[in-house]
C-alpha cells in the first residue's frame, strides 16, 4: 500500500510534466491539425534557457521559469511563421515532414552551439523531502512541479475560456473558415496558440531540468513522443484531455517501472496508446465526430 501511494505521488509529478507538454501538442493539433514534432525540442530549449539563467545569470527559480517561457513563446511564434505558415494549404504529410525538419534543426542546432555533452542542472534549492504519513515522502521539487503545473493550467483555462483571444482560438479550432468570415484574424490566433503552447513546454523543460538534474540536446525526443501519446490518450484537441492524459500516462509509467521492469515502460506507454486508439480513437475525453461523405 505504501509503495503504491509513493508510486502514485511520483507518477503524478512526472505526469504533470507530460501534461504541460501535451497541452501544447493538443492546442496546436486542435487548431491546425498538425502533429508538431518540434514541440519536444521547444521543451529541450526551455530546459537550456533555464540552465543558462540559473548557472550563468544566477537568477532564481521564478525568474528563470518566466524567461524560459518567454523565450520559448518567441521561438514557437517564429517556428510557426517561418516553417509552418507557408504550408498552411499544403498536404498534411508535407507539413509533418517540415515539423520533423524543424525538430532536427532545433536538436542539432542546439547541439552545435552547446556541444552534445550532458550538463548538470544546478540545484535551485536544497532538496528536501517531507514525510506525509508512514514511509511515504514527497519532495519539495515534486510539490513545486505540481503547484506550477496547476497554476499554469488554471491560467490556460482562464485564457481559453474567459478572454477574447481564447474565444478566437476556440472558434478557429472549430471551423477556421467560418471564424475568418466572422472577422477573426486566423493567422494571429494560430501564432498565439503556438506561443502559448511553446511557453508551457518551456516551463516543463525548466521543471524537468530541476527534477532530473541533467539536460542534453536530444532530451526532447522521447518526452515529446510520450506527451503526444498523452494528448491522444486524453482526446486530442481537448485541453482537459491533455491534462488527464498526461497524468494518467505518468502514473502508468511509474507503476510499470515500480512493479515491473523499467525497460518496458516506453513499450507500455505505446501499448496503452494503441489500445486506446483501437477502442476509442477520439480519446478518453474526446467527442466522437461522425464522418460525413
Amino acid at each position: 500500500m505504501e509503495q503504491f501511494l509513493q508510486q502514485l505521488i511520483n507518477g503524478i509529478s512526472l505526469g504533470s510534466i507530460y501534461a504541460l507538454i501535451a497541452l501544447g501538442y493538443t492546442m496546436v493539433y486542435g487548431i491546425i491539425k498538425l502533429i508538431n514534432f518540434a514541440h519536444g525540442d521547444v521543451y529541450m530549449i526551455g530546459a537550456y534557457i533555464g540552465f543558462a539563467c540559473t548557472t550563468y545569470l544566477k537568477l532564481g527559480f521564478v525568474e528563470s521559469l518566466v524567461i524560459a517561457m518567454i523565450v520559448c513563446a518567441i521561438l514557437g511564434y517564429l517556428v510557426e511563421k517561418i516553417a509552418y505558415k507557408p504550408l498552411r494549404n499544403a498536404t498534411r504529410i508535407a507539413a509533418l515532414i517540415t515539423a520533423i525538419g524543424v525538430s532536427l534543426f532545433l536538436e542539432y542546432g542546439t547541439m552545435f552551439i552547446v556541444k552534445p555533452d550532458v550538463r548538470t542542472f544546478p540545484a535551485v534549492w536544497e532538496k528536501k523531502s517531507f514525510p506525509l504519513f508512514g514511509d511515504i515522502k514527497v519532495s519539495n521539487t515534486q510539490i513545486v512541479i505540481l503547484v506550477v503545473t496547476i497554476l499554469l493550467m488554471i491560467l490556460l483555462q482562464y485564457i481559453v475560456h474567459r478572454t477574447k483571444t481564447g474565444k478566437a482560438m476556440r472558434a478557429v479550432s472549430t471551423d477556421s473558415d467560418a471564424a475568418q468570415l466572422m472577422g477573426i484574424d486566423v493567422n494571429r490566433t494560430i501564432s498565439i496558440t503556438f506561443a502559448i503552447g511553446s511557453a508551457l513546454a518551456g516551463a516543463a523543460g525548466v521543471l524537468v531540468g530541476i527534477y532530473y538534474n541533467s539536460i542534453d540536446p536530444l532530451m526532447g525526443i522521447i518526452p515529446g513522443l510520450k506527451a503526444f501519446v498523452a494528448a491522444v490518450l486524453g482526446g486530442i484537441g481537448v485541453i482537459p484531455g491533455a491534462m488527464f492524459g498526461g497524468i494518467t500516462l505518468g502514473i502508468i509509467e511509474t507503476f510499470v517501472s515500480g512493479y515491473g521492469s523499467s525497460l518496458y515502460k516506453d513499450a507500455v506507454a505505446f501499448a496503452v496508446l494503441i489500445i486506446i486508439l483501437l477502442i476509442k480513437p477520439s480519446g478518453i475525453l474526446g467527442k466522437n465526430q461522425r464522418e460525413k461523405v
Binding site: 502533429i35 498536404t91 515532414i97 517540415t98 524543424v102 525497460l263 513499450a267 505505446f270
Partner: protein, 315 residues
C-alpha cells in the same frame, strides 16, 4: 511471352545490365573503394525501403511511421539465422525468413490498426515500431541493447542489385495490376472506393504486408553487410529517414523514391566532411524543400512519363 519481349523491355534489361556491369567493373578495379561501396549499399537498401513504404503511404495513402520496425525484424531474424548456420545458402534462408516474419507481423499489426486514419494511423504505427524495438532490446538471445555482432557478410553488390531491381519490379507490377489500382483508388477516396465494391480493408492490409515484406528484405541485407546490428539503429528516426525519402521523391512516384534515395545519400555523404553541421544543413534542406516543393521532387509523376510528355510535345 510476345508482350514480354518488346523493344522497351529489352532496352530496360540492357540498361540494367549496363548499370550493373559498369559498377561491378568499377568495384573490381577499385575506383569504387570500400568507402564508396558503403554508400552504394546504403543507397540500394534505402531504395528498397523507400519503394516499399511508397506502396503503403504514397499509393495506398496509409500513413505509416513504423517502417523501421519491420526492417528490424528482417535484420534480426536473418542475422540470427546466418550467424547460427554460416553457410552460403543460409543467406537466402535468412532473407526470406526475415521477410516472411516481417510480413506476418505486418499482417497481425495491420488488421487492427489499418482501421485508423491519417495521423492516428501514423502514431499507432510509430508506437508499434517502438514496441518491436523495445521487445528486441529485452531479448538477451540477440544481445539486448549491446546488439548482435559477428554477422557473416554475405551481401555484395550482385545480390544487392538483384534484390533492389526485383523489389522495384515487383512493386511496380503490383501497382499496375488490378490490385494496385484498387490501392490507388483507396488513396484517392476511400468511401468512393468502398462503394465501388473494393474491399478496402483487404487492400490496405495487402499493401501493408507487401511493404513489411520488402522492409524485412532490406533489413536482412543491411544486417548481412554491416556485421553488426543493434536495436537503436531501427528507432523512430530511421522510420522518419525512410519517410523523408518517400516524401522528398514524391508520394506516389517510384522513380521519385529512387532518385531521392540516391540524392539524400549523396548529400549526406558530402556532408560527412562537416560532421557537426551535417544534421543542421540536412534539416534546413528538408524544411526549404518542403516549403518550396511540398509535393516532393517528382510529385506523382514517373520519370518515363516526363519523357513521354516531352516527346509528345515535340511531335
Amino acid at each position: 511471352m510476345k508482350q514480354l519481349l518488346n523493344k522497351k523491355n529489352i532496352l530496360y534489361v540492357i540498361g540494367l545490365a549496363a548499370v550493373y556491369g559498369i559498377i561491378q567493373f568499377l568495384i573490381m578495379v577499385d575506383i569504387i573503394n570500400q568507402y564508396y561501396q558503403v554508400n552504394l549499399v546504403v543507397i540500394c537498401i534505402n531504395i528498397i525501403l523507400a519503394v516499399s513504404l511508397n506502396l503503403v503511404t504514397g499509393f495506398t495513402g496509409q500513413f505509416s511511421l513504423g517502417h523501421a520496425g519491420f526492417m528490424a525484424i528482417g535484420a534480426y531474424v536473418s542475422a540470427v539465422i546466418t550467424t547460427k548456420m554460416p553457410q552460403e545458402y543460409s543467406f537466402f534462408i535468412g532473407i526470406f525468413a526475415g521477410a516472411i516474419i516481417a510480413a506476418l507481423v505486418g499482417l497481425v499489426i495491420g488488421i487492427p490498426t489499418l482501421r485508423l486514419k491519417g495521423d492516428y494511423l501514423a502514431i499507432a504505427t510509430l508506437g508499434l515500431a517502438e514496441i518491436i524495438r523495445i521487445l528486441i532490446l529485452n531479448i538477451d538471445y540477440v544481445g539486448g541493447a549491446a546488439g548482435l555482432t559477428g554477422i557473416p557478410q554475405y551481401t555484395n553488390w550482385t545480390w544487392l542489385f538483384i534484390f533492389t531491381v526485383a523489389t522495384v519490379l515487383i512493386i511496380v507490377n503490383f501497382i499496375r495490376s488490378s490490385h494496385g489500382r484498387a490501392c490507388i483508388s483507396i488513396r484517392e477516396d476511400e468511401i468512393a472506393a468502398e462503394s465501388m465494391g473494393i474491399n478496402t480493408t483487404k487492400y490496405k492490409v495487402l499493401a501493408f504486408v507487401i511493404g513489411a515484406f520488402f522492409a524485412g528484405i532490406a533489413g536482412a541485407l543491411y544486417a548481412n553487410y554491416f556485421y553488426y546490428i543493434k536495436p537503436d539503429l531501427f528507432g523512430f528516426l530511421k522510420s522518419i529517414d525512410i519517410l523523408v525519402i518517400v516524401v522528398l521523391g514524391g508520394l506516389g512516384s517510384i522513380t521519385g523514391s529512387i532518385f531521392a534515395a540516391i540524392l539524400l545519400a549523396l548529400i549526406s555523404a558530402y556532408l560527412q566532411s562537416f560532421p557537426e553541421l551535417r544534421m543542421v544543413i540536412y534539416s534546413l534542406l528538408l524544411i526549404i524543400i518542403m516549403i518550396y516543393r511540398p509535393q516532393g521532387l517528382m510529385g506523382t509523376k514517373e520519370l518515363n512519363s516526363l519523357f513521354r510528355k516531352k516527346a509528345e510535345k515535340i511531335k
